[in-house]
Symmetry: C2
Subunit: 472 residues, 2 copies
């Protein structure tokens, strides 16, 4: 079953190839010196020399007498975001959950996916909205729309922000094609290849995938039940000088934890000292029973950029996200969105969202979702307990339970077994930059009712436990 | 009126600042040597030394004894795509037309814009489609959709491709949020900062804006009435070793010209010799009276990537584009789209487009558009002739007329005068990498019927002609 382990020389060669593939090293760039690379990789200088010599034989790098090794520029593969990052089996990289969930057919169960089932969504309101749009002016049905996106939707959002205590004007808000696209635009605007970015560990796996596409270094900050570990956060600021910190507030993904007021305040104070910009993704905000501390609210769009979307609450088919922040940054982001997408989200999508939000049924819909999720959370925790799977904390809202497997079993192996049974799981290490969450799984309590899910997990755990016993 | 011209030292300082702002030079990077930069910029070494010294005094760069100047990393501004590229007045950069057109209010006339008026679009079919979607399963109304996008729409497109003689399977097609986003994904996938990309000169202005965001060098190839100038194209391949060539086939933007069979064949032969990848944007294909030579058809998705969209023919509000190409590249592009947008276009938008295309009214709609455009093209050419404005060629289809102003007047000045009268024009140099189209304007014949347009242009020309006479 197992593949031959790569030799240390091969691992070093892969590390260099990876830096070239991810554009950390470009044509003409000098490779690290043998001594420096040996130290970085905890290898002997002679192994590094062998790795460099073999890469030179392949034509990937070239030695220049007395001056080291340089990237030739030959055979540079297309940018591959799927195979970046620490070496792990491609099958279980940060794309695994996304692609398995998005491309799952209707027969599969998806407790690992990141959204609610279609029948939890406000179908009647969406149908009413579509019929209303079908009666609107043809210009709404056929024109590009303005560069910042629907003014009606922006005004609605600004009203919500005002209720939270944030004063902002329509120039500080940009609608985008999705929440992910919003973060991507901000990263393109603010980051430079080679910059360092802080993320939570564990944290949302697609932040890793997205940041790899920006060719930046990721540093994980341990996430506690009251937010990021502040001592580790401060130490990371000092030693890595990151340009950005990307986080979820309001029901952290995957843990469901809530940042405490003290942590939020200290985090912003430390960020100010180091002139750090923070991207706060609040995509789960409306699932909270009551508002938790929010960095953007404390900060008032000075160094915090707020990201949101309607994909979790209303519809992921009407793709739309938004960016709220400093007016001068939004102005630059408008240019960038014109250059890279020509316009923003589909005006049909934003009209639909604005129609549903203005229709008055949204508050009731969210109240129903919250109580339904509370019931499912309890039910799921109880069912999982029968399998020895225990939540790290009981979140106060949202749809995730971040759970530990019994006996430190490897969740990637469980996920692979379950995939064979048509069940998509979200194994812990896809959320972990440090790869320290191998025995965790993230469950979506709205998608974990299926009998097949429990049966498949039970079977997988039994197989792995028996194997572990046999090995002892 | 005119600003003080920048001194040569200031121009050199700007050139370095621009390389830092556009991320061509990053923190820690070494600046070109004084001698090399003096040669590049046709300046004396002493002027370069002065420029470097002043930048060092600002803290932007730092001298290291005996080793040259290095970027410090201090005060690096956010990536600014709006102010990149050759120095020109911000008011008339490649974003000017996009932003003025997209954000124009209903009272303005927009002969410079790049789309048809709403009442030319198939409103009834779009309304029918929306009502059909309002009756569909809630999953269509609320789920993300698959990673490659609607299979129904992909199958429809593949049927069209088969009619042209291209055999491809659904794995070779990826739906995206827009045609621009499709090109942006391809550039992220294939380009490395510092690469060189060939574009047509004149060519679509947003290609320039988009490519600046990728931090690549642009080289323009003169566009003739039968396609790119092949001798210049070949010379550019030899001297610049570009990674990519981005072009419109089927009614070139802005000229409306059509590539000849000989040029298409020679272009592909030369590209093969130099292993060049070609992005062929065919967004105006369905406006042709009969199909012109298409690089993707000759090549069969080997080195040609086909880009398309429905924004010009059906609706720009239902945002959707596509990429067709090699299966392994599409696979990598799927990962990249998941990382940067999570999914593809709005499934509502793709369902709407598929509904209209499958409904059978599309061919009739396009036939009507083509004959209406033919009439408007003749009418517009006639009206413009009264002002001394003459088309470079008479295109065989589409909605553009690429026209020369009388007496070599500056179209940017005409555009500025007309903007004051509420008329958005598209001045020639926004289309030109070499800034050699100052006396051209691009007219959209479907948007040039307004009396105010002709009056404003007439007035602007008179003012400029009088000024020119006074200066003689």
């Amino acid at each position: 079953m197992r593949q031959r382990a790569a030799t240390l020389t091969e691992q070093l060669m892969d590390a260099i190839r990876n830096r070239i593939a991810t554009r950390v090293l470009g044509p003409g760039d000098r490779l690290p010196s043998v001594r420096a690379f040996a130290e970085t990789m905890s290898a002997s200088p002679s192994t590094v020399v062998e790795a460099y010599d073999r890469l030179a034989a392949e034509g990937v790098i070239r030695a220049r007498r007395g001056s080291g090794f340089y990237v030739t520029g030959a055979n540079i593969p297309p940018l591959s975001v799927g195979e970046m990052g620490p070496r792990r089996e491609r099958a279980i990289d940060p794309f695994w959950v996304s692609r398995q969930s998005l491309d799952a057919d209707a027969t599969m169960e998806k407790p690992g996916c990141g959204w609610l089932p279609a029948d939890w969504m406000p179908g009647a309101a969406l149908r009413r909205g579509l019929r209303a749009i079908a009666r609107a002016d043809t210009s709404l049905l056929s024109d590009y729309g303005s560069t910042r996106g629907s003014l009606a939707l922006r005004r609605l959002l600004l009203g919500w922000f005002a209720d939270e205590g944030i004063d902002a004007d329509p120039e500080q808000l940009l609608l985008t094609g999705s929440g992910t696209q919003a973060i991507d635009l901000v990263c393109r605007y603010l980051l430079h290849p080679g910059d360092t970015v802080l993320v939570d560990d564990p944290g949302y796996f697609n932040f890793q995938a997205l940041l790899r596409a920006h060719r930046v270094e990721l540093v994980g900050v341990p996430y506690t039940s009251t937010g990021p570990d502040i001592a580790a956060f401060e130490a990371a600021l000092t030693s890595h000088r990151p340009r950005l910190y990307i986080t979820n507030s309001a029901l952290h993904n995957p843990t469901g934890a809530t940042i405490s007021p003290q942590t939020a305040h200290r985090l912003l104070s430390v960020a100010a000292l180091h002139d750090l910009t923070i991207v706060e993704d609040e995509i789960f905000a409306d699932f909270e029973p009551s508002p938790s501390p929010r960095l953007a609210v404390l900060d008032g769009f000075d160094r915090v950029i707020r990201i949101g979307s309607f994909s979790k609450t209303l519809s992921a088919a009407a793709r739309c996200g938004y960016i709220a922040g400093r007016a001068d940054w939004i102005e630059g982001l408008v240019d960038l969105q014109v250059a890279t997408s020509f316009g923003g989200p589909s005006p049909l999508a934003t009209a639909l969202i604005a129609d549903v939000l203005a229709g008055g049924s949204y508050r009731k819909h969210m109240a129903e979702l919250r109580s339904r999720l509370a019931r499912e959370r309890d039910r799921t925790a109880e069912e999982l307990a029968h399998l020895g799977i225990i939540p790290w904390i009981m979140p106060r809202g949202g749809f995730y339970l971040w759970c530990r497997l019994p006996g430190e079993l490897d969740s990637a192996e469980v996920a692979r077994h379950c995939m064979d049974e048509g069940v998509v799981l979200a194994p812990g290490n896809v959320f972990s930059v440090s790869q320290s969450a191998a025995s965790f799984l993230r469950f979506n309590v709205a998608q974990t009712a299926g009998e097949r899910t429990y049966a498949a997990i039970h079977a997988a755990i039994s197989v792995l436990q028996k194997r572990a016993e046999a090995e002892i």
